[in-house]
């Protein structure tokens, strides 16, 4: 819904998620490699590679971020979280060399979002991870902003395909501003238009939904 009156709950900033944000719910669906640090009785059915009734301690598996956050405890060993490759030292060096060449959509698509959430798991590399996230964003932002302000009325898919979700949202925001300005320059700002809500809902008629 691309209208002026619908304001969805935005994603949280930094390490905080917004409970009601659909974007954050999608983000927290991303899977992380973990190792169980205790036994999980009777949940063996979750771990498809073996046939046991319980999940034994020391099992390596993938859990979604929401479950990992829910289970993780700083003081007690319940699960330990492995850093995904893209946040480890090898990739961090690549990012510091030239952040602009990296395809963050392929590496993510929630590179910044997931990276910020990783900080919850007390890795000794947290300061370096945080630093890399910040520096990468700063280095890439200029290009994203410039291209969003200069691509008018053209196919932008090549520009956005290597951006992560946060950068894509910023790009869209820049485009929206540019289009608004152009429309104002053309004198279209005062033209009354049909609500796009109406046009979208019209496409689905009651007859389509009835069994």
């Amino acid at each position: 819904m691309d209208t002026q009156s619908y304001f969805p709950v935005p994603p949280g900033v930094g390490m905080e998620e917004n409970f009601l944000s659909l974007d954050d719910i999608l983000l927290s669906h991303e899977r992380l490699p973990i190792r169980t640090e205790c036994t999980f009785p009777r949940l063996g059915f979750l771990e498809k590679s073996s046939d046991t009734q319980d999940i034994p301690e020391g099992t390596k598996m993938e859990l979604p971020l929401w479950l990992t956050k829910g289970l993780y405890e700083r003081k007690r060993k319940v699960v330990s979280v492995e850093l995904p490759k893209v946040y480890r030292e090898g990739w961090r060096t690549v990012f510091s060399a030239d952040p602009n060449v990296v395809d963050l959509h392929k590496m993510g698509p929630y590179y910044y979002g997931l990276g910020s959430q990783m900080l919850h798991f007390d890795s000794p590399e947290n300061p370096e991870i945080a630093q890399t996230l910040l520096q990468t964003f700063i280095a890439r932002f200029r290009r994203t902003m410039d291209s969003s302000q200069n691509a008018y009325n053209e196919d932008t898919s090549a520009l956005v395909e290597r951006l992560d979700c946060l950068e894509k949202a910023l790009f869209r925001s820049g485009q929206s501003g540019l289009n608004g300005f152009q429309s104002w320059e053309k004198g279209q700002a005062s033209q009354l238009t049909a609500s796009s809500l109406v046009l979208n809902y019209r496409k689905r008629k009651i007859t389509d939904v009835q069994p």
């Binding site: 819904m1 209208t3 002026q4 009156s5 619908y6 304001f7 969805p8 709950v9 409970f19 009601l20 944000s21 659909l22 719910i25 205790c38 036994t39 999980f40 009785p41 009777r42 949940l43 929401w66 479950l67 829910g70 289970l71 319940v78 004198g187 279209q188 700002a189 005062s190 033209q191 009354l192 238009t193 049909a194 609500s195 796009s196 809500l197 109406v198 046009l199 809902y201 019209r202 689905r204 008629k205 009651i206 939904v209």
Partner: protein
Amino acid sequence: GGLCLHQENEAKSEGRAELIPSIKLRHCCLLRNQRCVTAYLYDRLLRIRALRWEYGSVLPANVRFHMCAEELQWFSQYKKSLASFMRSLGGDEGLDITQDMKPPKSLYIEVRCLKDHGEFEIDDGTVILLKKNSQHFLPRWKCELLIRQGVLEHVVS
């Protein structure tokens, strides 16, 4: 929350503390489902609220068909809140802030009819027939709602 703590305490008192990690995991799943449902319902309300501004105070049948009773009730309450707020503005008459959402350039505008809409009375008593493809020069404030609803099209030269 409370339920998880209750189950954990039960597990501890019965000497089955090793079940606690599994209890916690199941509890996380319940919370996750709760979050998804709540966010979904809340997003629906945000869209329904937007409809009051984008479409008007009477929703079309195909939209109402997709709303549950509580949502219809919510819309009705929101409408009332908005109406009483608008009445409280601008002195005695109130102010319809859902009008003139774009800066008006003139009192009268040229419109083209996109579909048959029957007879339409304007302030001086004149009746206009809104037949598909007919064009009219009408007061802006009478047309705004019909344009937003896709019945008329604002023609700008």
